[in-house]
């Protein structure tokens, strides 16, 4: 059989990645199957549910609608890169925990990354802006309200912290359980 594989290079969670992939391989499948980043979830595979959301150069993007070869030269971030280290949480993650902005957790990585993208460009969103930002991410468990409250709390915490919102640099020990 003809080998149509292409070599691509990009960054995932800050680390350089260079690999040979089939042109048809979605970024979703690549991240899950080749990089074991199983926090990226496959919900509908046609770009509606948002469970597969990742950040591409800081913007929330559906990895099921993006081919791996299209990632050439871009910076990809997944939920696994959201916290400074594996034993810490970002403030957004911690806010989701505090407000129980989740139930089954399947939409949660996509929601948190969508919230990250929102807060990166708007550090003090109102409710309607939050609703608009997450309207492309379906959740079947929560009815969204505790997710919205989580993002509000994250914005409040971020505004109180001295750190910027343009990186995952802020820390939380995730305590309080």
């Amino acid at each position: 059989m003809t080998d149509y594989s292409k070599t691509v290079s990009f960054h995932v969670n800050g680390q350089p990645v260079s690999c040979s992939v089939e042109p048809r391989m979605s970024l979703l499948d690549f991240l899950r199957d080749q990089m074991d980043l199983t926090g990226v979830h496959c919900g509908c595979e046609h770009g509606v549910c948002g469970a597969c959301t990742v950040l591409v150069d800081g913007d929330a993007v559906r990895s099921c609608l993006m081919l791996t070869v299209q990632a050439e030269g871009h910076r990809i971030e997944t939920i696994e890169g959201e916290a400074p280290t594996h034993s810490e949480l970002s403030l957004i993650q911690d806010a989701f925990w505090e407000k129980h902005g989740l139930q089954c957790g399947f939409c949660t990585p996509g929601m948190i990354l969508t919230a990250r993208a929102l807060l990166n460009r708007n550090s003090n969103p109102d409710r309607s802006e939050i609703r608009e930002a997450i309207s492309g991410n379906l959740c079947r468990c929560t009815g969204y309200l505790q997710i919205i409250e989580s993002i509000e709390l994250a914005a409040q915490w971020l505004s109180q912290s001295n750190r910027g919102t343009d990186s995952a640099g802020e820390k939380s020990n995730g305590g309080g359980a």
């Binding site: 595979e45 549910c49 129980h100 089954c104 949660t108 079947r140 009815g143």
Partner: protein, 807 residues
């Protein structure tokens, strides 16, 4: 454990605490079934039927077999040779079913061939080269047509399309109708929707011929799953090891997965490798058999001029789809709340389930209760309209008063506790008053909108005593419906609670740890909640029927009481006092009259683990107990008239919804939503609130948006998220929940169930709000979902219904 305590006495229950399971989800570390990786794992794709009914005349696998990576291909005939037919709920032995179609397809999307290959992509590539010849047959999709004698038969060997046809009469219904001042008759329809979890069904099975064990990791929420898999695979249950530590990405009832599991398990047994199948969205929507109830109600209500409702007759015709499965039982659970929260003294119920050539149904949140609640509440509004009586006043007149509990309804269930009037008062106070809400509605009408105020009063039967099984299947004598918790204390004093079920977002680890912490008076964070496998665990019936707060909470509390009892014995022995002289406080035992004489937790643990010389004679060393709990009030078979206690506990919810619509476009916009909720003692407020809000969101979907559409050619038209719209953050409003706590006398902390809350009353209230908006036009909408286009068509047609009731 029949005491109830006021929430003030609790240390941990009812207070804010973070959910212990959330940590792994927010960090992307949860392990869902699709994340399971096993050495040598292979992947499955399936080929589905394009016909609603057809004979399979030939299957040509020659091209597919030649594709790279293909390992094995299986058809229905091969499954028949190797496995038993899948279990069904009702007694229909000739409605046979295997994971793949056998000789004939019965719905579009039914799986016919399964391919296992090195990768999913290779399996999909090969699936495209499978050639199947079909000889189309006549089909039927409409449930009423399926009942006609000349209708095509979905299962000719069964002899008809009727899966279930049972009639019950509880009380003197005919006499009550004769004596009543009025009666009205109406038809409402509940369209086929589902909870549609974001995670499709996923399963990995791995057969180990060295140990004769089939390991299974699956996204399940299914009672007796391991047993059913074992029977189908012709294995002993001790050869099935279901791993309950798999996180489930949403279920709300539908993640049953019997056919998917048997399919991959048999493939694994054939090739000797782990085999994974993850439904894609198309497979999930069309062939995953995860659709919900699809029901026509014909209801007669008898009532008097003063508004008192005297009797009700309900005929429910449910379209089960192409196979029986468990779905006909969804007609049974509503028997336990067949008169809703009202003092209706007699009831008749005719339950029919028919099979048609559409995707089979599965259990959905509430197990048939939400449609029934909608049917009842629609009628209550019709009575109010017919009598020109205020809807709130009418409900108040008919609601069971708080001093009447425990209250036995005609169909045999006793409602454990309730304060429905109190809940309504509190709800109206919070909402600013019923009259004020009506005034707001009228102001909107004055501004030119169609505006409506909807109210519903509904019950959430909880506790999951599945008495509908013996009620609807006389060959089923199940009266045991248990849940277990194993509790160990390690030598360092840590507590390990082992539960034997998967969870799909309900927070069972938090529930378990709080219940144990409360009894032992220890901080919840020293309690580790572990998940067993089906080989190491204990009896569980999984989180169905809003049962886990009652049953898992009860089992965990019961296990903790056993540990406490053992420690008190140890303390009494060591301090030379009687057990009755001791008090348990802060995780230790102390003498009531001289609290300075005390053995702390660590000391008691040390004695049990290290000091055999200090243990009472004949006491087992170590600290390990199992508590298995039977459902409160369970244990009886139905009487000759079909009376039976269905579920033990009854949560109450009342929804108040203000809707406005543009008079031409008719898109219902929810502008105010208040929900009064009483599920007894709340164990974790954030979890209960979250599930209730999520239930409302499901209700909004069922009421206004979601429906699986099948055309007359039998084609399912809603197979993606593009054509099956679901509520997004734009469609779900900020719901204001008003809590009331009326403890159950039947449970350890006074808790009731809440897993189906919100969903059980929201479709009814939203429908009533839209109908109130249409009332000035003398229009009534009697089918869910009420989509924008449906409403605008009705308004445009201007159909007048005329008078509502007959004298």
């Amino acid at each position: 454990m029949t005491h109830s305590i006021s929430s003030k006495e609790f240390r941990y229950i009812g207070r804010k605490s973070r959910s212990v399971e959330d940590r792994r989800f927010i960090s992307g570390q949860a392990i869902f079934a699709g994340d399971i990786k096993r050495p040598g794992q292979k992947h499955v794709s399936v080929v589905a039927s394009p016909y609603p009914a057809a004979k399979i005349t030939n299957i040509d696998l020659s091209q597919a077999r030649k594709q790279p990576g293909v390992i094995d291909i299986i058809t229905g005939e091969q499954l028949v040779a190797a496995t038993n037919q899948l279990a069904t709920a009702v007694d229909t032995p000739n409605v046979k079913r295997w994971p793949l179609a056998v000789g004939q397809v019965r719905y579009t999307g039914e799986w016919v061939v399964a391919i296992v290959a090195e990768s999913r992509a290779q399996a999909e590539d090969a699936a495209e080269l499978v050639e199947i010849d079909y000889d189309p047959l006549d089909h039927v999709v409409d449930p009423e047509r399926a009942l006609e004698t000349e209708s095509p038969l979905v299962h000719p060997d069964h002899g008809s399309n009727v899966l279930l046809d049972r009639s019950f009469t509880w009380g003197d219904v005919d006499q009550d109708f004769k004596l009543a001042d009025y009666r009205l008759s109406y038809r409402v329809k509940w369209g086929r929707s589902s909870t549609v979890p974001l995670e499709t069904f996923a399963v990995t099975a791995s057969w180990d011929s060295g140990t004769s064990v089939m390991d299974i990791w699956a996204s399940i929420q299914m009672p007796k799953y391991a047993d059913q898999i074992a029977r189908a695979l012709r294995l002993s249950a001790s050869s099935i090891r279901v791993h309950y530590d798999v996180d489930v990405g949403g279920s709300y009832g539908v993640k049953r997965g019997l056919k998917q599991t048997v399919l991959v398990a048999e493939l694994s047994r054939r090739i000797g490798k782990p085999v994974t199948f993850i439904e894609d969205r198309l497979q999930n929507m069309s062939g995953g058999d995860a659709h919900g109830p699809d029901r026509i109600f014909d209801v007669d209500l008898a009532y008097n001029n003063d508004g008192l409702m005297k009797s009700i007759r309900i005929r429910a015709l449910d379209n089960a789809g192409a196979y029986a499965g468990r779905s006909p039982f969804q007609l049974g659970k509503p028997v336990g709340a067949i008169v809703g929260p009202y003092m209706i003294k007699s009831a008749a119920y005719h339950a029919q389930s028919v099979t048609t050539n559409i995707t089979p149904q599965e259990a959905v949140r509430g197990f048939g209760q939400a449609p029934t609640n909608y049917a009842i509440e629609h009628g209550v509004d019709l009575v109010a309209r017919a009598l020109n009586m205020d809807r709130l006043e009418l409900r108040r007149k008919n609601l069971i008063p708080s001093d009447a509990f425990p209250y036995k309804i005609p169909s045999g269930s006793t409602y454990d506790s309730g304060n429905f009037h109190g809940m309504l008062d509190k709800l109206m106070d919070t909402a600013g008053g019923w009259q004020e809400m009506l005034a707001r509605r009228d102001a909107l009408r004055g501004d030119g909108f169609l505006a409506g105020l909807g109210l519903s009063c509904c019950l959430e039967p909880s506790g999951g005593n599945s008495s509908f099984e013996p009620l609807l299947n006389p060959k089923n004598d199940t009266t045991t419906w248990m849940e277990s918790c194993q509790l160990q204390v390690d030598a360092l004093g840590g507590v390990i609670a082992t539960i034997s079920t998967t969870s799909s977002g309900q927070g069972h680890e938090t529930l378990t740890s709080l219940a144990i912490a409360e009894i032992l008076q220890l901080p919840p964070n020293i309690i580790r909640v572990a998940r067993a496998t089906s080989l190491t665990g204990h009896a569980s019936n999984s989180p169905v029927g809003s049962r886990m707060a009652i049953m898992l909470g009860g089992a965990a509390a019961g296990a903790a009481e056993k540990i406490r009892g053992k420690f008190l014995e140890v303390a009494a022995f060591n301090m030379g006092v009687a057990v009755d002289d001791l008090l348990w406080r802060d995780g230790g035992a102390e003498v009531r009259k001289s609290p300075e004489r005390r053995l702390d937790w660590d000391q008691l643990v040390h004695i049990c683990h290290r000091n055999a010389h200090r243990l009472p004679p004949d006491m087992e060393p170590g600290i390990s107990v199992v508590y298995t709990m039977q459902v409160p009030t369970g244990g009886a078979l139905p009487d000759a008239d079909g009376r039976i206690q269905m579920y033990p506990c009854y949560s109450f919810e009342s929804h108040l919804v203000l809707v406005k619509m543009d008079p031409v476009i008719c898109k219902p916009e929810i502008i105010d939503y208040h929900l009064g909720h009483d599920c007894g003692v709340v164990i974790n407020p954030d979890i209960v609130r979250g599930m209730t809000l999520g239930g409302v969101a499901h209700g909004i979907g069922a009421a206004l948006m979601e429906r699986f559409e099948v055309d007359s050619a039998g084609q399912l038209k809603t197979v993606t998220f593009m054509d099956y719209p679901m509520p997004s953050s734009h469609e779900v409003p900020a719901v204001n929940i008003v809590n009331q706590i009326t403890p159950s006398p039947l449970t350890c902390f006074g808790q009731k169930g809440s897993g189906e809350s919100g969903y059980l009353g929201s479709p009814a209230a939203i429908a009533n709000a839209v109908n109130d908006a249409l009332a000035p036009l003398n229009l009534t909408f009697s089918e869910l979902p009420m989509r924008m286009s449906d409403i605008s068509d009705l308004v445009a047609s201007g159909n007048s219904k005329g008078k509502i009731h007959d004298n």
